[in-house]
């Protein structure tokens, strides 16, 4: 298998993915105008993850590539979530002492 055929994505796909990204950017900004309180953060993160997913799947060609690269990307996010989860859990469940002088 000397000259392995790399998957070539048609031009149209690139442009349509870019269009989606622009639309999602507008959505992110638009959504931020409303005040959902705590929920704002989660919506922003959700929309950003969709955009990130689009860039990773199409621009970085994870959709057509060896599954291993997708697992590496997800591993990165998994360990990040582990550190985040534990530190937030620790800070939120601390029993705070206070001075009684």
């Amino acid at each position: 298998m000397s000259d392995h055929k790399h998957h070539i994505m048609p031009l149209k796909v690139y442009v349509s993915v870019f269009a989606c990204l622009l639309v999602l950017t507008v959505v992110t900004v638009w959504v931020s105008l409303f005040d959902f309180g705590k929920l704002n953060m989660w919506i922003a993160m959700f929309v950003a993850s969709i955009k990130a997913g689009l860039v990773a799947m199409y621009f970085m060609q994870l959709k057509y590539d060896n599954r291993l690269y997708l697992y590496i990307l997800l591993a990165g996010f998994a360990f990040l979530a582990l550190l985040l989860g534990v530190t937030v859990f620790d800070i939120s469940t601390r029993v705070m002492q206070s001075s009684t002088l």
Binding site: V95, M96, Q97, S98, S99, T100, L101
Partner: protein, 321 residues
Amino acid sequence: MSVFLLLIQSAFAERFMPYQGTAIAAEIDYLYSFLLIVSLIAFVILIGGMLYFALKYRRKADNEPTPRITHNTALEFLWSGIPFIIFMIAFAWGLIIHKKMVDFPDKAFEVHVTGYRWAWDFQYKSGKKITNELYVPAGEPVKLIMTSKDVIHSFFIPAFRVKQDVVPGRYTALWFEAKTPGVYQVFCTEYCGTNHSRMLAKLHVLPKKKFEKWLSDNPYKGLSLAQRGEKILKGSCAACHGLSNARKIGPGFQGLWGKERVLEDGTTVVADAEYIRNSILYPQKQIVKSYNQVKMNSYQGQLSEDELTYIIEYFKNEKGN
């Protein structure tokens, strides 16, 4: 057989562990001896097995054929299951004891601890303050509410098996119920710089009545003003300043009154009442030459007005004799 085991347990653990100052310390030692015994057995099995195999199957000829044993599922299940069960028992037992160590009894006697670079200040609700000497009643739960003025320290009483980091910017706490009166050693176990190894304190456990008397009596009763000043200097200041003229972390105090002091910026000033008061309340303003590595904490709000006058009184008449 079980009596024999109990004998080993208590003898073995007791010999190493310090005095059991509280009921919980005894429980911890009991759990620890259980772990010691179990791991001794496991160690004998593993290392004994290793030595036995090494001697029994030592190489007699160079290319001896050896059987092709690749695995034995039952055996492998055994030596992963049993350690797992033992570890879970150890975890659960430890959890039960630790739960007791962190459930603070609500009517505990509270003492405030302030750790700072290289000494411990203790403050009682009655306003009484003392350095490096903690007095607590025996047989009653005592809760220490602790914070630090500069870096992380850690309050450790080996005899009571309690330790808690003292973190700047927030309060942490620990509690114990001392069984028998006596004097116990306190260490700082979180690295905090130059005098980390000298940041020790003594914990005095007194019977209830003697403690009440100690708490109510005025530390300065029957002392002249100068003697009171000397008592303060020997308390909170002893960590860094000596009453002789020898240099410790800070300058020595002997013959300070009226002496010319050459400051870091080259100016000189006479050590009078104003100079002493300023160097206690705003130590950073006038630093004597070559003492600028270590920043002295200000004692603003720590020493009352009369205590400041006692100190000045001490210097005034110490010069006299």
